[in-house]
Amino acid sequence: MAEESDQKPKLAANQPAGLTRREAMLQLLRVGGMAAGATAAGVWLSEHSFRPVPAHAEQARRDHRVANEEQYPRITVVQGGEPKELVQTALENLGGMKRFVSKNDSVVVKPNIAWDRTPEQAACTNPDVVAEVVRQCWQAGAKRVIVTDCSCNEPRRCYHRSGIQAAALAAGAEVILPDTEKFREVEMGGVVLKNWPVFGPFLDADKVINLPIAKHHSLVGCTLGMKNWYGILGGERNRLHQQIHQSLADLASFMLPTVTLLDAYRILVRNGPTGGNLEDVELKKTMVAGTDPVAIDAYAAKAWWNLDPAQLPYLEMTQARGLGTVDYDKLPVKFSKLG
């Protein structure tokens, strides 16, 4: 070593500094290695250039129905009680919550929380109805009870001012606000609804309970049970109105609820679905519930808006698809009068 260091300066003095053979080989190896690596990476990448495609859509239809049992009616109408009693009697008539929710089920409760309105304005489902359904789910042994909806107005305001957030939390439910990152692309297989983003909790549930509210709606005439499924969708929902009946039928064939409890404690008879004035609201103290979503909508449409199934094409469409019957009067309807 000492010799080398003595010699080197001498070399440098009379000729340009050279490398030893060993150093030169190493340098060549390094450069060659980098060149080979860059070539390999380039070739690999060029073979992996694909035109971006949307994420693969899920395909399953969500069927949460339970089997019909002869001893229980498909539809029940309860009148004359407070929201909590209406729910209790309606569920009793249908065979109790245990029939719908099994032990360790993960249940999603879907009220209408679309608008920034208070319960008195009757644009969103009554919070006491939501709370009672949540309590009954727990009693039936549910593992998880989620209350959620994809609001139209600002969700934090809708959840707060509708009173649903407070009522659901008090009853022990998980309240999930819509989060843009939790929507998944779903192939709905409908006539007009093909690929749409659906809010995750609705896709992962074991049971889904529909809690709509009955309201006036200019385009359809009234918005009842099946229209509530708009609230599971993300994306550009404003296009659905163009073929509203077909899209309602498509949604109803995609999402089949365990049970539907249509809140008609207060109904919005004018200026729906947003309302605002208390003069637009009528107190009906009624609940229409059951396992036949078509019959429930047909009954409510006739009862409060005097609309026949012929005037509501989506009812005929869903009947044709085997989701229920528009002839509710041919079903054993169980009526209960409270108070």
């Binding site: 919070p127 934090r156 707060h160 957030q165 200019s218 109105h241 947003t274 309302g275 605002g276 004035n277």
Partner: protein, 556 residues
């Protein structure tokens, strides 16, 4: 009386106390800014109010208070609190700049970072008093005169305004974006542990610093870049913004001439070693060989600890005549007059332009509660707090919609978000009353819109029948009518027979607007499926704040 700050005991403690105070106020400021967002508490269905918005900081801002008083001949809401800063400054000097101001603190911290431009001698030279430090007094004079004549342009430069605007509309949204970009792949991971960690982190951050939804602001890049540029410049010259431009610092500098606390230099001990200049924040020449510039000193106390000879102390009730100091801003009559003249000229020049009296922008929709345009411009300090708090991200900083004088004032952009019926948060956070505080009831869109004869109106909706689906293309729609929040609805529909392209007669509903009911919230425009150029849109005509910009002869 001889009270002395400094000497051996306090030597080590004062800068430490100052640092604690600076961190405390910076954290408090950022926390208040983050919480200036819609966070409803559970329980009840009542109105949602803002508990502790960042405007609490503005209420201490004597510059905002003084300008507000000059322009409005009054003092809005909490601005009297600014005496809490102004009065102590009379006694203690610019302690606010050195100990409290979060904009100053940020520059202070950045200025302490190692930088080539501030090595050794260069650093000492950069901290000597410079003539350009008097620019801020010219800015202050011009700003106050402009305020007196009706323009709050000083808000562009007020440090709180600058900070809320930059951090609230650019830095926090960018931070929000970055955090979500990191969390998203974690949450979608196939490894259960990573997924769980991501989800836990997300829920913690969501409850504290993250926005409910990602916000976007027009010119966010410009606002963020200006802010970062100011911080980057303080790498070259410590607190360059405070020293050269800050009008609030200038105001406090003027006031501090009477302060009873000041620097005492024991010239017999001073060896001109320059150590005091190494950490000087204000550029006020604490060194013995130059006169002390009282109005520039930020009371940071660094020089006291830095002096190896213990020749520097801060004392109450010094004999000012015996001290070698310049107690008033070293500005000179000519510069002072320049400032006054500039301020006096700026408003007439701006008003000679179009935009306010003539040819108002049709899409300039002001937030609910906003005063009529001249009053609005004389109060709005462009802090962007209303935009930060707006839950629908609807309020955006203007570029030219309000004229050059209205740069960065708020405007509602319905394509991004409409005005939420029951929301009055922007009016609750506005520190100066440009958006006068109103209640949801006064706004009048929530209950009994028909009964409230004078709801707040932001403008009026109009249809473009060449694009509207039921009018132009024989397609069902009326989403606008569904969303219209007033009752009876301002959008009404009429059944019409139309012929589609195949020659079939079709019955559908065509929408129209009743201008006497429309409040101009923009929900129809927001909901219209023709996204990029909606078939229904709101223009400012009919806005309730303006007595002249009306359509109807008689509204009610």
């Amino acid at each position: 009386m001889r009270c002395v700050l400094g000497g051996s005991v306090a030597k080590s403690r004062l800068p430490l106390l100052r640092r604690i105070s600076q961190i405390f106020f910076l954290v408090a400021f950022v926390a208040l800014l983050v919480f200036t967002s819609l966070r409803p508490t559970s329980g009840g269905t009542g109105d949602i109010h803002m508990r502790a918005p960042v405007r609490l900081f503005f209420e201490w801002d004597p510059l905002v208070a003084l300008a507000n008083a000059l322009s409005s001949h009054g003092l809005y809401r909490g601005l009297l609190w600014s005496l809490l800063i102004l009065l102590p400054t009379l006694f203690l000097g610019r302690f606010f700049c050195g100990w409290i101001c979060p904009m100053g603190t940020l520059q202070h911290f950045v200025g302490n970072m190692p930088s080539e431009a501030k090595r050794g001698k260069k650093r000492i030279e950069s901290n000597r008093y410079k003539r350009w430090q008097t620019i801020k007094y010219v800015v202050l004079a011009a700003g106050l005169v402009a305020a007196f004549f009706g323009s709050m342009a000083i808000g562009w430069l007020d440090p709180f305004s600058l900070l809320v605007r930059s951090v609230g509309l650019a830095i926090l949204p960018a931070f929000n974006y970055a955090v979500r970009a990191v969390l998203l792949p974690l949450e979608h991971s196939h490894v259960a542990a990573i997924k769980a960690t991501g989800e836990t982190l997300h829920s913690i951050l969501q409850a504290t610093v993250l926005d409910f939804r990602q916000t976007h602001f027009a010119q966010g890049l410009v606002l963020g870049a200006l802010f970062i540029a100011i911080l980057a410049l303080s790498l070259r010259v410590t607190r360059i913004w405070c020293r050269s431009l800050c009008p609030l610092g200038a105001l406090l500098g003027v006031v501090s001439r009477w302060s009873v606390l000041g620097l005492h230099k024991d010239l017999s001990k001073c060896t001109n070693c320059n150590r005091c200049l190494l950490h000087c924040q204000g550029g006020d020449d604490p060194i013995g060989s130059a006169p002390w510039h009282k109005s520039e000193c930020l009371m940071c106390m660094n020089c006291v600890g830095a002096c190896p000879e213990e020749s520097l102390t801060f004392k109450f009730f010094r004999d000012a005549k015996a001290e070698r100091e310049i107690s008033t801003p070293d500005i000179g009559r000519r510069k002072a007059l320049t400032g006054l003249a500039a301020g006096a000229a700026v408003v007439p020049l701006m008003r000679a332009n179009t935009g306010l009296g003539k040819d108002r922008h049709d899409r300039l929709l002001r937030p609910p509660g906003a005063l009529d345009e001249p009053d609005f411009l004389s109060r709005c300090i462009r802090c962007g707090e209303c935009m930060k708090v707006c839950p629908n991200n609807s309020l955006q900083p203007t570029l030219e919609e309000a004229g050059l004088q209205g740069l960065w004032t708020p405007t509602l952009v319905p394509r991004i978000g409409y005005c939420e019926p029951s929301c009055v948060l922007c009016s609750e956070v506005c520190p100066t009353g440009a958006i006068w505080q109103i209640t949801p009831k006064e706004k009048g869109w929530v209950v009994g819109v028909g009964q409230n004869k004078n709801p707040v109106r932001l403008g009026t909706a109009f249809y473009d029948r060449g694009r509207c689906l039921p009018w132009a293309e024989a397609i069902d729609c009326i989403v606008c009518e569904e969303w219209c929040p007033v009752s009876p609805k301002a959008i009404y529909v009429e059944e019409a027979q139309v012929v589609d392209s195949s020659g079939k007669v079709k019955t559908l509903k065509q929408p129209r607007v009743d201008p006497s009911r429309c409040v101009g919230c923009g929900a129809c425009e927001y909901a219209c499926p023709l996204q990029e150029h909606p078939a229904v849109y709101v223009t400012s005509i009919g806005e309730s704040r303006s007595p002249s910009a009306q359509i109807l002869l008689n509204r009610n």
